[in-house]
Symmetry: C2
Subunit: 168 residues, 2 copies
């Protein structure tokens, strides 16, 4: 019997971090949950990092994923925004590490290709593709859709690797 | 009676993070401890961030500082190193936040000015100045000396603020 694997996709942002959880059984993919972890812009960075960390830990406890996936950074426009994004990624990766989940990173192009079939897909195209593929009754927000897309890309990747293992 | 305040200075680096703890009573400054938290270069970033986080949490539990200080980034040469440094800073700042310590940030120039009396002081000058001011029997490593210097700069700053409050 095929084992179900839960995958958490993360789309990091210092204001809004998107998350999406999918469950994969063989090549079958089902939606588990999605949403955003927000930090309060008025607070100092110190408190905001704690909000993001506590938020993602809550998501992990609630959905109990086995695997995590994140987008490779597509290096930020300038060193200052790269530093801020790096701080956010740092606390998110720490949570993944503390829950002992394996992590895979995918380029934005690979994610778009896997989900929308087109490496240059725009935000709306991604939201529509995620909604259609997961048979959702509503369109997820752009951040949640991006996170679901990373999780779906990872699911594809894991399914293909396992299928290749069986052929060997 | 003047209350003693313990200050933790942090010099973040993805391979080696320096830390230094000083205790301040009025304008008196004494050395408490210093060293480095290392991460294993051969491990994936996920595990390295956990090593850094666990390391700094251990330092905080051992020395019980009341206050933390860190250098402002002096924005890294390129977005990619800014992202890596950001991830390290993220987990360090999370630890400071979880132990509910106030944090102050100082520019490298302010730190050098405060400790060596000269904003362009080199690594060795900083190590010698830290050793002399704290009456250490040995010269601390460059990373530990930088961290002690940030803690000393913060101590100065706090002493001056308190003195100013008493004058009001």
């Amino acid at each position: 019997m095929l084992k179900a694997i839960r995958i958490l996709g993360i789309d990091p942002g210092s204001r809004t971090t998107g998350y999406g959880v999918v469950e994969q059984t063989g090549f079958d993919l089902t939606f588990v949950g999605c949403g955003v972890v927000k930090s309060t812009p008025e607070l100092p960075m110190l408190q905001r990092l704690k909000e993001i960390y506590d938020g993602i830990c809550g998501v992990i406890r609630r959905h109990e994923p086995h695997h995590a996936a994140i987008e490779q950074v597509f290096v930020a426009k300038n060193p200052s925004s790269a530093l801020t994004l790096g701080q956010t990624r740092g606390v998110l990766l720490l949570a993944v590490s503390q829950f002992a989940m394996p992590l895979q990173e995918f380029s934005p192009k690979t994610v778009k290709q896997a989900v929308a079939g087109y490496g240059q897909a725009g935000k709306e195209q991604m939201q529509q593709a995620v909604r259609a593929l997961l048979k959702l009754s509503a369109t997820p927000s752009a951040d949640a859709a991006d996170a679901l897309a990373v999780a779906m890309c990872c699911a594809n990747h894991l399914a293909v690797s396992r299928a290749a293992d069986r052929v060997k």
